[in-house]
Subunit: 202 residues, 2 copies
């Protein structure tokens, strides 16, 4: 075998995983629009014809990336929100979970968060939107539980509180560096404290 | 004159403004990558040759949009941060300012926040990055002033606090609707309270 030649997995599912991994990496670097199926085939080390056998179009590939990532995010958050932990601990863990997921699937989450999903045909766009709604609803559930039990203040709109948490977490893809000054668990701890207790000195 | 025919401004600066406005609107709808100079010329109602006279390339046009928007954002924030108001009021006004700016220049800010600036040649990318840094530093200054005077807690990293504020504000372009359930000043008020006081009941 030539030096540097890629070892290709032979099983169909492994091949699909290699394609997804390669596509995610190129989408993250070049952006969805500028990436071609040719780029992806070259990165995997297969012909364009072989790639077509697995993925007939770029948007289906993109859909699989988004779907996998949002499903993973929901699964992680679901376990926290539907546990019997105290509300404040659930919120703290939800922040941590976001960063844990971000690192584990990197750069998939950044591709999912950045790219616009209006490239999908309507049926796929609806499926993605429903998934995003599922994720958002989990945040609403834990906030509502907190308001109902008197742990969380009742004068702030739940949906706006939810977007504040999701917004600060999601924007992380724009600035945070996996090898930056702070560990991701330090960032999530600060976010969690700031969100629950506020930045004013007591 | 035919019904629906566009009235074209004749002055050079007006023409440039029309081009910027049209480009911003198409970038917001189709995304930077998918937009062509032909699309923009058609939207303004001029020939491609005329457009070329003003803008020889798409990225210069995009640079002008980003530069205008970040400069406006800095100007607004600068006035607040460098005023003699109390720190807490400055933070509250900084949140309000973000939404005020967002509405006034819409959809320019959403184009600036969404699109990746790695399409610029190095000199322009540096200019844009310096401008973004200027904006961020204003947030750092007000937070540092608060920590120094004991108004803001000193146990949270200033840069992470800054990103929490900017993150929740910037993510707004992904979800908030100019004609939505809540007014933008209501959203900024909730963000400001949540950020300064936290979501826990006292």
């Amino acid at each position: 075998m030539k030096k540097g030649k890629k070892i290709l997995p032979t099983k169909q599912s492994d091949r699909k995983t290699s394609i997804i991994t390669a596509a995610t990496s190129i989408f993250a670097k070049k952006g969805y629009e500028r990436t071609t199926l040719k780029d992806i085939a070259a990165e995997v080390g297969i012909s364009k014809a072989t790639l077509y056998y697995y993925y007939g179009s770029k948007h289906i590939l993109f859909f699989d990336i988004v779907h996998k990532n949002i499903t993973d995010a929901i699964e992680g958050l679901n376990q926290i929100v539907n546990s019997s932990r105290p509300t404040k601990e659930k919120i703290d863990l939800s922040f941590r979970q976001h960063f844990k997921f971000y690192i584990a699937d990197y750069p998939g989450p950044s591709v999912m968060l950045h790219e616009k999903t209006n490239v999908f045909p309507q049926d796929l766009e609806i499926r993605v939107k429903n998934k995003f709604r599922e994720y958002i609803t989990l945040w609403d559930n834990v906030l509502k539980e907190g308001v109902d039990s008197g742990i969380i203040r009742s004068d702030l709109d739940i949906k706006v509180m939810r977007w504040a948490a999701i917004g600060m977490c999601n924007w992380v893809y724009k600035w945070a560096d996996l090898n930056g000054r702070l560990e991701f668990n330090q960032i999530s701890e600060i976010f969690s404290k700031l969100y629950t207790e506020g930045i004013l000195a007591k």
